[in-house]
């Protein structure tokens, strides 16, 4: 979530689900919340019971729309045009929360005089380098700053990271024009940029009727300000685009302009794809991050040692100035007490694996095809279903020498070599596949202990209920004992490349007949401890860069503050009558804050904006912040504190008492992002890489910086390609879980959605002579599948720029294993990515539809 990081400082949901109940308006866009987050949706209904307006903007009328007050139909991939229209409405009608925005955002900051907007360059910003297919962002910077360009980083920093140069480079006060008259202040640039996003243009580009769009704008602006707040919820309906990051930025800008961040009933709830996905980016499983969003060292960046890494990756101003404490404590946790400041680049810095480029999932699959990767260990994924262009993936898997799949059932990945359509069609021959494939039985959640970290950054502990059957083992058991065996294997090696394994600390206590490692011991290491006595630290404020502390994940520090005290076990809700921050329920990072940036819930002087939305305030008598949540601010920093610039302030000293966004170098929310994003400082409407229409707004058709891998097996469709006239959008159903393994294999969930299907609007079905339950074939240049038709008015055609655009909806859970089966939707999608995150574009691509079947090609 680089978009939330680039706007507010931390790439995570700013609020918690239960706080939605305090909202006066809830906007759900890029999410089918009722279906995919049904438990969180409870709080939307609670808000509704109190009179809140619920808005759902989506290409499809879903179970979420059925419970909304306003349903705004939006053509797949046109969300930025819609959001830009809202920004235009707010700015041109002067409906922004002036006092909040002037004090807490960078609206008055002045940008370089050579900045050129998409208005000037027909859809491009200044700094585009055609030969490198990337931006040089120097002209986007704050006036009088000389900051490194993002071009050097192109293809390097591309993950979810709030350290991603956010506020990193600021080294002096930012020049501002509080009168907002300077033509290069952010306010004036934004007004020019969004001038063409009129309600008429919104209707032309998105297909949403103008009246409906205006109704949304009215509801949003009416329910914001001192007395009221509105919240936004999004999910993978926004991230699965080549413009995903900029789409989320659109909502972030709206929420900052309306003064809805850091306040009860406000915020942006990033609804994550499944349970503990938040945890898997925090701890993380991403290739370009170390635990706690510390950047993974890059081989080509020339960081010789720990000192140069810290110098480049830490910040002068703001909280990120403390980063050296977190990396040193991490190294101390990994490589133990015997290393010193002089060991291997500093506490074993050299032993951390270095990255060399984009090693995320999409290019990883291509690397298998190119035989760069020879072995694959897969846990918790089913890439032949959830990957993209999965026919190409299946054809390349035989290049592997070995593959280990840990699963609770035999999934499609483990069985592709003898059961896939490619085998039935004779394209793959099981006798010719040389890969040695291992299927290892995994435990289900009830068969192991540990934590889930959910959407709202909340760690919740769960105990083991029963022992898993037979050879089923937990992931922790597998990783621990694998590590043990590797250490044994390499213990006598003198090869320097084996040093990281030799030096790794790997000594968790085990119990029971299977020697199950203690998950609580791992959590204690994650929390951090002092090396001298092994006692847990109370939180990340205790961490040091002198080598005296160890900490596995600094943002989680505080979850295990004393021996035997695991706050993730907490199950104490606030009793009725409290505001509902539920401090005793689990543990939320950072520092148990439930609403981040909550300093913004008070006005610049530290008083609540209103009695109705009171949350955190300055207690002048005791000289401290107080309220219903853990303050996301220095506890004793008075609202009137000003940095003394003559004394060259560092870190938090440089942020004044009116700067709620403490991770940012200037302490402000960034409406305009001068550094950190690869595709522009402001969201701009581009068509999806595959679109049936030319961009109605600019000469630039699609996101210029989008990551493309045009290869013979990964072709893209041209704009308005007559062979692929329809928009296909893929999605999940409430009845199934992602790749489908936990639900398609169980009869009671399989029967609820027992087969794959495609949802088709009646107008298109009529043209093609298709009726419900007819077999249909969907095709793209990547491949074709057959499925059954479900004709429904819930899908609608869109009239875009005078042209009728049909969309076909396609759930992607299905495969050939289990009780609920169907062809694999992701055969149709391509490998293409957002420039910041390398996330695919499964939500909007083109394809064809016909009545009939694939003859003889069905397994």
């Amino acid at each position: 979530m680089p978009s939330l990081g680039a706007t507010f400082g931390r790439g995570a949901a700013t609020t918690a689900q239960w706080d939605l109940a305090n909202a006066d308006c809830v906007t759900i866009m890029g999410s089918n919340m009722a279906e995919n987050h049904p438990i969180a949706f409870r709080f939307v209904l609670e808000a509704k019971a109190r009179g809140a307006t619920v808005i759902h903007a989506d290409p499809r009328f879903t179970r979420t729309s059925a419970l909304a007050d306003i349903y705004a139909p939006v053509r797949p991939g046109s969300d930025i045009a819609f959001l830009g229209g809202v920004i235009n409405y707010i700015l041109e009608r002067d409906l922004w929360f002036r006092e909040y925005v002037l004090n807490y955002t960078n609206i008055a900051s002045i940008i370089q005089p050579d900045f050129q907007d998409t208005e000037d360059l027909d859809g491009l910003f200044s700094g585009w380098d055609e030969s490198k297919q990337g931006y040089k962002a120097d002209s986007w910077q704050y006036r009088a700053e000389t900051l490194p360009s993002s071009l050097e980083n192109h293809g390097i920093l591309s993950g979810e990271s709030y350290s991603e140069k956010v506020g990193v480079m600021i080294s002096k006060p930012v020049p501002k024009d509080p009168s907002l008259q300077d033509p290069y202040c952010v306010y004036q640039i934004m007004r020019r940029h969004y001038a063409r996003y009129t309600p008429e243009m919104v209707e032309r580009v998105t297909g949403c009727p103008k009246e409906t769009f205006l109704k949304v704008c009215e509801a949003l602006t009416k329910n914001s300000g001192r007395e009221k707040t509105g919240a936004w919820c999004y999910a993978v309906g926004w991230t699965h685009h080549t413009t995903g990051v900029q789409t989320i930025r659109g909502a972030a800008i709206i929420q900052a302009l309306l003064g809805n961040i850091g306040r009860p009933g406000g915020g942006i709830l990033a609804l994550r794809g499944h349970s503990s996905i938040q945890g898997s980016t925090d701890v993380p499983t991403l290739y370009n991050l170390l635990p706690g969003y510390l950047p993974q060292p890059h081989a080509r960046k020339g960081f010789r040692d720990l000192d140069s890494y810290v110098r480049e990756e830490s910040a002068n101003f703001g909280w990120w100035h403390n980063m050296s404490k977190y990396i040193v404590s991490l190294l101390r946790a990994w490589y133990g007490p015997d290393t010193t400041r002089g060991t291997a680049g500093g506490y074993g810095y050299d032993w951390i694996p270095k990255i060399v480029g984009d090693q995320s999932q999409l290019p990883m699959m291509l690397a298998i095809q190119d035989k760069l990767i020879r072995g694959l260990l897969v846990m918790g994924q089913n890439p032949v279903i959830g990957g993209h262009n999965t026919h190409a993936i299946r054809m390349s898997l035989p290049n592997l020498e070995w593959m280990v799949v840990r699963e609770t059932f035999e999934n499609e990945l483990a069985s592709y070599w003898y059961k896939s359509p490619e085998v039935h069609r004779g394209e793959l021959d099981p006798h010719q596949i040389q890969t040695e494939i291992f299927l290892l039985p995994g435990s289900l959640p009830g068969e192991k202990e540990g934590t889930f970290t959910n959407t709202q950054r909340l760690l919740q502990w769960h105990d083991k209920v029963v022992e898993g059957p037979a050879d089923c083992r937990s992931d922790l058991w597998f990783m621990y004992h694998l590590g043990k065996r590797l250490k044994e294997l390499y213990k006598d090696s003198t090869d320097p490349r084996d040093a990281p394994i030799q030096h790794l600390t790997w000594d968790y206590p085990t119990a029971g007949p299977n020697q199950e490692p203690s998950a609580e011991a791992v959590l204690k290491e994650i929390n951090g401890y002092t090396l001298a006595d092994g006692k847990p630290v109370s939180g990340y404020v205790d961490l040091k860069d002198d080598g005296s502390t160890a900490c596995g994940v600094w943002i989680y520090s505080g979850v295990y503050p004393e021996e035997g005290k695991n706050l993730a076990r907490g199950r104490t809700p606030d009793p009725p009558g409290k505001v509902g921050s539920h401090q005793g329920w689990g543990y939320a990072w950072p520092h148990n804050r439930r609403i981040m940036y909550n300093r913004a819930s008070a006005d610049p002087d530290g008083k609540p904006w209103s009695e109705a939305k009171k949350y955190l305030w300055w207690d002048a008598e005791h000289s401290r912040w107080t309220g219903y949540d853990s303050p996301d601010f220095e506890l004793g920093k008075a609202p009137d504190y000003e940095p003394d610039w003559s004394k060259d302030p560092q870190g938090m000293e440089a942020l004044d008492g009116k700067s709620p966004f403490i991770m940012m170098g200037d302490g402000k929310s960034w409406l305009f992002v001068p550094a950190g994003l690869k595709d522009g400082p402001l969201p701009t409407h581009y068509e999806p890489v595959e679109s049936p229409v030319a961009n109605p707004m600019y000469g630039q058709q699609d996101n210029p910086a989008a990551k493309k891998w045009p290869r013979p097996e990964n072709p893209y469709h041209l704009v308005s390609d007559p062979r692929y006239p329809y928009v296909i959008t893929t999605y999940r159903l409430t009845e199934h879980h992602s790749g489908g393994i936990p639900t398609r294999m169980v009869p009671s969930t399989a029967e609820l959605q027992p087969e794959g299907f495609a949802e088709i609007p009646p107008e298109l079905a009529g043209e093609l002579g298709i009726k419900t339950l007819d077999w249909v074939v969907l095709s793209t240049a990547r491949g074709e599948i057959e499925t059954k038709a479900l004709v429904t008015e819930r899908l609608r055609p869109f009239d875009v720029d005078g042209k009728r655009v049909y969309q076909v909806g396609l759930p992607w859970h299905f495969g050939w294993q289990g009780y609920a089966t169907g062809d694999i939707a992701n055969v149709l999608t391509s490998i293409v990515g957002d420039p910041n995150t390398t996330i695919h574009e499964g939500k909007a691509f083109t394809g064809n539809l016909r009545k009939g079947r694939l003859n003889g090609m069905r397994p």
Binding site: A34, R569, L773, T792
Partner: protein, 324 residues
């Protein structure tokens, strides 16, 4: 950066701050006893668990039931899954029906909770509060106050429990099937596997153990509410008032005493519903009747017919004599 400093005196009731104009708000209560279980540690079975999950102390001798509020239903089918898992019910025939998102089709011997999906014609962009245009409703056995199935059962397998619910005793049922046509809602069914009659037990076994029924416990939006019948009825009536205040004029209760669904001698439905369209839209009879009430009128009609025929015969004989 340290722990929270709550200023207790400053704490306001956030929920009471927000008011619908002129209408008190009824937020979801946090049951008192939930505060007693501060950690996720498994410490044996929690006594009277329903007090935590539903705020209800289950006491034999009281009437219990379901209030299914369709205006809150999101069609997630968690109730169907929870029911099958708890009651160990196998899947029905697996296959796509083409009827919107409904693939279990109907209540049956193997499906005791069933979510209906009703797609209404038209493409709205502005809608009344809560559910509209795609109606979803979790159907279940109504546990009628006067139950047709129970009256028809010749073996006593069907009986009324100490919780005022209607349950089939599997060891007594002989599979005669008389109960099947006697249910005005088409709920009860015999199963081809064992030949016996099956339907929702309102989780009789769970109630005995102090647990809330599985479907109600799993419902994420409180569309299915479990509790003492009088309490549920009060809540439901308030909910209808609240919805009317929000402009949802078509909300009404189905199955409460004197209302639709509770006609024809049935009295009332212990599992009743808040509906947003005509009962027929949900496959529910608008005016169901207890079969025995039809037996009575049928019997009278039969007697009257016999009397008429007798009179006719007498008249015919008399006429014959005259002719002779």
């Amino acid at each position: 950066m340290s722990a929270v400093n709550y200023a207790e005196t400053e704490l306001q009731d956030a929920r009471s701050r927000v008011h619908l104009e002129g209408h008190p708000v009824h937020p979801l209560p946090v049951p008192e006893r939930a505060l007693q279980y501060r950690e996720s540690i498994l410490a044996g079975i929690i006594p009277h668990e329903a007090e935590l999950t539903a705020g209800v102390t289950i006491t034999p001798g009281q009437s219990y039931g379901f209030f299914t509020d369709t205006s809150l239903c999101i069609g997630c089918k968690a109730c169907e899954v929870a029911c099958k898992e708890w009651n160990n019910l196998p899947a029905d025939e697996i296959g796509l029906t083409g009827q919107s998102y409904d693939n279990t089709g109907r209540l049956s011997a193997l499906t005791w909770r069933h979510v209906e999906f009703i797609e209404q014609p038209g493409r709205a962009t502005s809608m009344p509060a809560f559910q509209s245009h795609w109606l979803m409703m979790s159907d279940v056995c109504k546990h009628c106050a006067n139950a047709g199935c129970l009256e028809a059962c010749p073996t006593g397998a069907l009986f009324r429990t100490e919780f005022d619910t209607v349950v089939v005793q599997q060891d007594v049922c002989n599979g005669c099937g008389y109960c099947v046509p006697s249910c005005p809602f088409g709920v009860i069914e015999t199963n081809k596997l064992d030949g016996k009659a099956h339907k929702c037990t309102l989780c009789y076994d769970r109630l005995k153990g102090g647990l809330e029924p599985a479907c109600a416990k799993s419902c994420p939006t409180n569309s299915i509410q479990f509790g003492p019948l009088d309490d549920l009825t009060r809540r439901a009536e308030q909910r209808v008032k609240d919805l009317h205040a929000l402009g949802v004029d078509n909300a009404y209760l189905y199955g409460t005493r004197g209302g639709p669904g509770a006609t024809g001698g049935i009295g009332r439905l212990n599992a009743f519903f808040l509906l947003l369209d005509r009962p027929e839209a949900y496959n529910l009879p608008a005016a169901p009747t207890l079969p025995s009430t039809r037996v009575r009128s049928g019997l009278l009609a039969g007697l009257a017919t016999m009397a008429g025929l007798t009179l006719a015969a007498v008249a015919a004989f008399a006429a014959g004599r005259r002719d002779r």
